[in-house]
Structures are given as structure tokens and as C-alpha cells.
């Protein structure tokens, strides 16, 4: 546990000392939030049933949160360490290899909490209301950050398997189909049958639905439960695969 804390503290320090790695991850979600609202909010005024009396910004916020927290930052940090030789230094220390992964995830949690809070504040400034109140806002930020932690496993897996910066960086692109095959612009019911089937099969849809329910509807427990379940299962599977990959590294 001590080693996870030590490596986590180091990774958090990295986030603070290298803002250039975090700022672009904020630009994209805020850009999409502004563009999507600008283009679509007139089409869907607050009287639209699925907006529950709110503006379109509330409907779009979860999508922007997904953009903000799903990054390849941990994978990139890992592959850079492999490239620079510091990874070997860690492997030759008498620690559990998994602590290298958990240290990175700790930094992802901190970064996720920070960027999700910022995106939420922007949305509130644009007139969005949290139907679930302050507690709901906290849960929204925590769930978004946890999804970022869960998703970080993809970048780390690619980093450990390819040991290549370009390939790891490209892992971010995997998220685009995952994000757009969801009810990101309209609810499930308004999608074409094929898109709806794809969206319903995509676990990211349920994370968005859960987060969206906190904004637009209040405390809808079954949606939150599914959202948390998806985050938990995704996190467990990807983290387990990452730990397995680091345990088998050069063995």
C-alpha cells in the first residue's frame, strides 16, 4: 500500500508539473460542449420532453465529461517511462509490479476529479441546473472520474504491449466510436433502429445515461446503479488485464 501511495503521489506531482498534458484534455470537451450547444440547442428547446425542462447543455454535459476524463495520459506516461528507462528502475525495486499500475490510476482519479469539476462549473455557468443538487453534483464528478480511471486501463494495456508512444497515443481514438455510438445527441428512442441497437449494446451509453439522470432528473437509482456497475466491471476487467500485462512484462 505504501508503494502505491508513493507512486501515486509521484504521478499526481507529474500532473501538476506538466499542465500541458492536461490542458488539451480540457479543450476538447469544452469545445464540443460549446459547438454542440450552439448547433443543436435551438432544435431542442427546454420544452423538449427528454430535456425535462432544462436547456440542451444539461443533456450534453455527460458527453463532455466523458471526453474530459477518457484520455491516454496514463498509458502515455507509462510508455514514456519505458522509453526513458525509469520503468526498469521501478521493475528492479522490490515492489509489487501492480503498484506501478495503481499509482498511475491514483493520478487518473485526481486528474479526473479536477477536470470533471471544471467542466461541470462551465456547464453551470452556461445555465445548467443540477436536479440532484450539490450531492448529485459531487456524485456526478466522482462517477465521471471513476470512469476515467476505469478507461485508463486501455492506454496502459496498449503501452505495455506495444511499448510504442505513437500506438499508445492513438489509443485515444478508440474512444470516438465508443462515445458516438451512444445516445449522445438524442435519447435511445429517437435513434434509428440500427443505431439504437448499437447504442444499447455499448456500455458507455449507460454511463452517459446515469450521469445525465443526475443532471436532468434527480436521483434515478436504477440508472445510477447500472452506470456504477458498468464503471466497476469495466474498471475491474481493464485493471486486471493491465496488472496481468505488467506482471508478464519481459517474463
Amino acid at each position: 500500500m505504501t508503494e502505491v501511495l508513493l507512486l501515486g503521489r509521484r504521478a499526481v506531482r507529474e500532473v501538476v508539473r506538466l499542465p500541458a498534458a492536461t490542458i488539451p484534455t480540457l479543450f476538447i470537451p469544452l469545445f464540443f460542449l460549446a459547438v454542440n450547444i450552439g448547433q443543436i440547442s435551438k432544435t431542442f428547446p427546454s420544452t423538449t420532453p427528454f430535456l425535462h425542462g432544462q436547456g440542451y447543455v444539461g443533456f450534453q454535459l455527460p458527453v463532455s465529461l466523458m471526453f474530459a476524463v477518457c484520455t491516454a495520459t496514463s498509458g502515455l506516461a507509462l510508455v514514456t517511462e519505458i522509453d526513458q528507462g525509469y520503468f526498469d528502475k521501478l521493475l528492479v525495486a522490490p515492489i509489487h509490479r501492480s503498484s506501478i499500475i495503481f499509482g498511475r490510476l491514483a493520478a487518473d482519479l485526481v486528474r479526473g476529479l479536477a477536470v470533471a469539476t471544471l467542466v461541470l462549473l462551465v456547464a453551470l455557468a452556461l445555465g445548467m441546473e443540477m436536479r440532484s443538487g450539490i450531492a448529485g453534483a459531487l456524485v456526478l464528478v466522482v462517477l465521471a472520474a471513476l470512469w476515467g480511471v476505469a478507461y485508463a486501463g486501455i492506454g496502459m494495456l496498449i503501452a505495455l504491449h506495444t511499448r510504442n508512444v505513437q500506438a499508445t497515443n492513438a489509443s485515444f481514438l478508440i474512444f470516438f466510436p465508443l462515445l458516438f455510438l451512444t445516445p449522445n445527441f438524442v435519447p435511445f428512442e429517437l435513434l434509428t433502429p440500427l443505431m439504437e441497437a448499437l447504442a444499447r449494446a455499448n456500455p458507455v451509453s449507460y454511463v452517459i445515461e446515469g450521469l445525465r439522470s443526475l443532471v436532468l432528473e434527480g436521483w434515478v437509482l436504477h440508472k445510477l446503479g447500472i452506470c456504477f456497475g458498468v464503471i466497476l466491471v469495466t474498471g475491474l476487467v481493464l485493471t486486471w488485464l493491465s496488472v496481468r500485462a505488467i506482471d508478464g512484462y519481459d517474463r
Partner: protein
């Protein structure tokens, strides 16, 4: 003598210092990579406690692969190895607690300061709180980086990074220290500083396993040396033993414009002359008795009125040992001589 004739490997037990037990032992150690590349092809090693053991070889000879196997970073394909008495395959974690490692690629986190990096390293070895702060300060003083302790390591020079890397390998006072080409890429002054550190660490009882491609480094630092080439150990012993096994002196005749063929012909057959090698503008005469032959060489050249630049005599170097064992010169020697030339020009 043929240039590729193998130099007999002395029994490790005989050349070990004071009959001390092995800090590192390997038997038939092999590593074959995917695609069938045989990086290490079955080597035996016996490194006694307290030794500085040099592992000498050109790039790609198998030095780093051997170190990585001994440090538990890479599994062997066959054979066995024990470090600090522990089998590297059976209990890698226990081995890692007993070793310090500074690999060829300097392993530093560029975003941390020197002090933070050492304190983290202490923590990974179970040294925390005030003990970690004290140990980090002690090591920063040891490697002369106290003034740079609060600077991020990405602002350090190559020599400073190497010294910090060395310090980070020492946080837990390991009984066995692996240094993989610790001076490659350093300027001569930084190289000497690292040598001094290695001597100081060794004087405290630490066994040092050092890979290098610099002959001078092996000669200056190491109690014993093994030469590895294409994955096999081709010679092993103390630097003195290895050189004396060649049994000849090297008389160098700087031609300084003199005709090579005429000079060779003038010298002709000398008593004890084993072979003549032409290197650039120099004739290297491998003789049983160099100093005793100088007068005769001068007499013969004078008799043919051949004027040469200089004549010097030297004992065989480790490079001659390497040439004898492998049939070619070591790459590191070229770098060394180029540096010497640059210094001479400057």
C-alpha cells in the same frame, strides 16, 4: 600465435580474492530472443564478494542481456544464476532487495527533483520519513549533487544524471551493485568522477558488477575481467593475468612518412618477433622482449638509412587481449583514442 587463439580461462576459484564466497554465480546462462537471436549463449560467472568485476565487450556482445538476467529483469532461456546467494528464478523479489542497479539507459524521472527522486527510491525500499530524508541527503552529498537537489532532473547534465542514477541505486546500501556501462557517453572528467564513486562504494564492501566497452575503465577499476563476445565469454582473469598470458611486448614504430615495405624489410626477422601489424602510420611489432629489441631495431633502420618518427615500447593492453581473443579491436577503444586525439588537438 593466431590472433583468434582462445585465451585459457583461469579457474575462477584460483583468481578469487581471499577465497571469499560468490556474490554472483552463473552456470550455463543463456538467453535466446524471439526470432532465434542468441544474445547470451551459455556463460559461467563467479564473482566474489567485494570484487569489482568487469564485463567487457563491444555493443551487442550480450553484456546488457546478462545484467538484465542477473537483475531479474529478464528470464534466462536456460542455465541458472544466483545473486547474493539467491536463485534469480526462484526468488526474484529477494534478489531485488539485495541489489542496486544503474542500467545503461539512465533511469530518472525528468519531472522530479533529485531529492524527490531519491526519497521515492528510499520509500520503494522501505526507508521512509526522516530516515529517507537523511539517506537522500547523505547520497546527494556523496555524489556531489547537494546544490542541485531541488532542481528537476531534466535540467541536469549527462554526468549529473549518471551520478544521481548511481546514488538511486545505493539508497538501501545493497551488497551487490550492477552498473551497466556507467560511463558511456560521459566526458573524460565525469568518467573519472564515476570511477572514484565506484571505488569508494566498493571500499565499503559492495560487490560491483560493471559492464563496459572501455578498456581503460576495465583496467583501472576492475579486480577481474571477463571478455564477452557474441554471447560467449572468451577470456577471464585479472587484467594483469590476461595481459601477461599474451607474453609479448608491443614495439610501435611511428613511420612518419617512411615507406612501410622498406621499413618492414629493414627490420626483417628479429629474435622473438611474433607478428607485425600495420595500423595507420604505425608498425606494431609483437615481440617477446620489447625493451631488449629496441637497440637492434634502431641499428637495422639506421643501416638502411630509414628515418622514422618515434619508437616506443609498451606492455600488452586489454585491447591486445581482446584482439587476441576475438580477432578484432573493441569499438570502445576507437572512441577512447578519438577522445585522446580530440584532447591532443585541443
Amino acid at each position: 600465435m593466431s590472433p583468434t587463439a582462445p585465451i585459457p580461462r583461469p579457474a575462477a576459484r584460483e583468481s578469487r580474492r581471499d577465497g571469499k564466497p560468490d556474490a554472483i554465480q552463473a552456470r550455463g546462462l543463456q538467453r535466446t530472443f524471439k526470432g532465434g537471436v542468441e544474445a547470451v549463449r551459455g556463460i559461467d560467472l563467479d564473482v566474489a564478494e567485494g570484487e569489482i568485476f568487469g564485463f567487457l565487450g563491444p555493443n551487442g556482445a550480450g553484456k546488457t542481456t546478462t545484467v538484465r538476467m542477473l537483475c531479474t529483469l529478464l528470464p534466462s532461456t536456460a542455465g541458472s544464476a544466483r545473486v547474493a546467494g539467491i536463485d534469480v528464478r526462484d526468488d526474484g523479489a529477494a534478489v531485488r532487495r539485495q541489489i542496486g542497479v544503474a542500467l545503461q539507459e539512465i533511469g530518472l524521472d525528468p519531472l522530479q527533483t533529485g531529492r524527490e527522486l531519491l526519497e521515492l527510491q528510499c520509500g520503494l525500499y522501505g526507508i521512509t520519513g526522516a530516515a529517507a530524508r537523511d539517506r537522500s541527503r547523505e547520497l546527494l552529498e556523496l555524489v556531489g549533487l547537494m546544490d542541485a537537489a531541488e532542481r528537476r532532473t531534466d535540467t541536469y547534465s549527462g554526468g549529473m544524471k549518471r551520478r544521481l542514477d548511481l546514488a538511486s541505486a545505493l539508497v538501501h546500501s545493497p551488497p551487490v551493485l550492477f552498473l551497466d556501462e556507467p560511463t558511456t557517453g560521459l566526458d573524460p572528467a565525469s568518467r573519472v568522477t564515476v570511477w572514484e564513486e565506484v571505488r569508494r562504494i566498493n571500499a565499503q564492501g559492495t560487490t560491483v558488477f560493471l559492464t563496459t566497452q572501455y578498456m581503460e575503465e576495465a583496467d583501472q577499476l576492475c579486480d577481474r575481467v571477463a571478455i564477452i563476445d557474441r554471447g560467449l565469454i572468451v577470456a577471464e582473469g585479472t587484467p594483469q593475468e590476461l595481459k601477461s598470458q599474451l607474453g609479448h611486448d608491443v614495439v610501435s614504430v611511428a613511420l612518419d612518412g617512411a615507406d612501410i615495405a622498406a621499413t618492414k624489410a629493414a627490420i626483417g626477422e628479429l629474435a622473438g618477433l611474433e607478428r607485425v601489424v600495420t595500423e595507420r602510420e604505425t608498425l606494431a611489432l609483437y615481440l617477446e622482449d620489447g625493451p631488449g629489441s629496441i637497440a637492434e631495431i634502431v641499428r637495422r633502420l639506421d643501416g638502411e638509412q630509414i628515418r622514422v618518427g618515434a619508437i616506443s615500447v609498451a606492455r600488452p593492453s586489454l585491447d591486445d587481449v581482446f584482439l587476441q581473443a576475438t580477432g578484432r579491436r573493441l569499438e570502445g577503444r576507437q572512441e577512447e583514442s578519438q577522445e585522446s586525439e580530440r584532447e591532443a588537438v585541443a
